[in-house]
Amino acid sequence: MADLDAQLRRYSEGVMADTEPLTLEDIEGRTGHPFREPVVSRLVPTRRHRFRVPRLVLVGVATAGLVALVATVLVVRGGGEDPRVVATPEATEAPSPGVVSGNGIETLDSGPLSPRGDAAVVWTGREVVVWGGDLEASNMGVPGPDQAFADGAAYDPATRRWRTIAPSLLPATSDPPAGVWADGEVVFFRGREAAAWDPERDQWRSLPAPERPVTGAVWTGRELITLPDFAALDPSTREWRSLPVPPVQLSSEVARWAGQELLVVGQSEPAAVPAGDARGMSYDPAADRWRELPPSGVDAQAIDADWNGRELVVVNYDMTAAAYDPAANRWRSLPAVPARFYEWYPRVVSAGAQTAVLMAQSLVVLDDNDHWTPLPYGELPVAFQPVRPQRPIHADGGLVYLFGYAPQTQQNRFAALDLQARLDSFDTIQVGTVSLTVPPGARLTDAVFRRGDPTGALPPPETVTAELATPSGTCSVSSTYVGGFGGLALDAATGGTDRPVTITPADGSPSWEALAGSDPDHTIVRLDESDLIEVTCTEPGQALELARYLTPPRSQ
């Protein structure tokens, strides 16, 4: 037998000879676009925007919970680099218009608008448009009276500049606005008012008022179907029409356009506690017909959903997930989302090949193999808000833009997220189990947390320590338990009290500090922007499992 070097050489030659090279056509087949043709040639100047109409759904998810994620999540893909040209429909698969620096998240200039929540945020194919919103002073931690806004601004990723937009025809009311990109103009609804803004001319036109207040809308390519009453507006003819009576009366509904039909999931009326399984229905505009979907198997509490091009991915308050395939008319269960449970609404957003869930400063990405990967949240905007209708999500794949109010700074925050780049910035390494001694008398149970029982049986402040084994060696975890809402041990320090958990690596490298905000079930300890440890606390006195350790980002 030949020596090992020779065997390796011969074997490798054979393997590579049998491995067919990839061709340009292989890649074209996956993208659906010929890449040998320069992208710019597929961009043609026109006077008006002619991007493919983005899938855009306004979601009126209601109530329940002490805090809510109010950052508006906007997903975009495509669009020209040059503001003077716009893309043909085919060009919507072209590279993203903005470049996200860093590890897939970039904080952007938050623009000229005054601090606000609940603004409508819309991707036009070229710009991110932010309009309306309000300031609930007492709930947002600012002095003075509540305010409502009817002004707006637009951000162009190609130039990285904002422009203010013309004064609107819509009133400044406390009704949360809804905005939809509808073939060349953005249609805004606010309560029982509607108007359209032309980004090319920076002009508004009025539209006939809906019969009932609108909380959201979906563009089908021809009409806007409005929520929650499912009427349809054709903005070109300015005519409203009624849809057939839906087969299910839903509340807290989420609607997404699935290419040929509208998919809606929500909680069946009358609302109940517990919410029961989410129910779904589909509306086919071509046939002007509704159909009811099979049982989802997912509790309807605080659900959110997005269409990923093949399935409607649904996630709820308990981080239970499922996907509905309209072609097969079938639901399938997905693994539970490894994000912290919290009194919070999840945000589901599909961008390109990825579907992500944003939940209580957790960012978790689902891949094609139904595996969820938690990633560092970074400096994405989130905010704590009291009970109020949820914000719309707008989606068209690719980059994700998030606009929201940051209570820490009492300013707006705006950021871009490239999910694939974020995912590719980290290695995931499975490491072992650590133990954590829980203070005597502490109770860490799901029931306690969910009841919101803040003090009951919780002990006085006490320091707990644990040895934490990481790839860089053993380190000491020290946390001062102070009682209060949310728990004990690590969580007591991070959840209800904002007290930091200090992790001191034995090798003398800088201490790591815990993320603020956590819960007894899942505590995420943030090392810094690039490192993350997720630990899962099982029971008091038992072990904490160090589930994932993400290495520092790879340098480029």
Partner: protein
């Protein structure tokens, strides 16, 4: 990998593709076997095209594409699979080599396959992996030792 930044004008992605595909294919085959490796590379090159404006600005776009492919391959959560040795075609190769290769730690396997199987230089492998040349040497030494142990190869000199 040394692919460098392709020219700005013209069909630069095509040029990039043709430049890096053969080498990345070898690297991905080393990583996870021919079938999954080719698929992962196809996914990564598709991603590269879709994000070309960003990737083309990188100092080592080929290395980045390799890491994207590796990330995609890892999500498959499958052990690498190498084809069995066809004795008539490769009589000099131990039938146990594919299994032993698959059993090596990832970086050792890639280093061994590329250096001894594909005649890559140590700096080329270091560039691909984003590690130092000395690290590559360590991977090679440990990889060969382990490969020998796994195959119970009798070294003749």
């Amino acid at each position: 990998m040394g692919a460098g930044v392709p020219p700005v004008d013209g069909d630069e992605f095509t040029e990039f593709f043709r430049d890096v595909e053969p080498r990345l294919r070898r690297a991905l085959v080393a990583l996870c076997g021919p079938e999954d490796g080719r698929d992962a590379l196809a996914e990564a090159l598709t991603y590269a095209w879709q994000n070309w404006r960003r990737i083309r600005e990188m100092t080592n776009p080929a290395g980045y594409v390799y890491r994207v492919a590796r990330s995609r391959a890892r999500r498959r959560r499958r052990a690498p699979v190498f084809p069995v040795v066809e004795v008539e075609r490769m009589p000099e190769v131990e039938p146990g080599l594919p299994g032993a290769l698959a059993a090596l730690p990832e970086r050792q396997r890639v280093a061994v396959f590329l250096v001894y199987g594909c005649e890559w230089s140590h700096p080329e492998v270091a560039d691909l992996m984003g590690v130092s040349v000395s690290t590559v040497r360590n991977h090679l030494a440990r990889g060969l030792d382990r490969l020998r142990a796994l195959m119970e190869v009798r070294v003749d000199g």
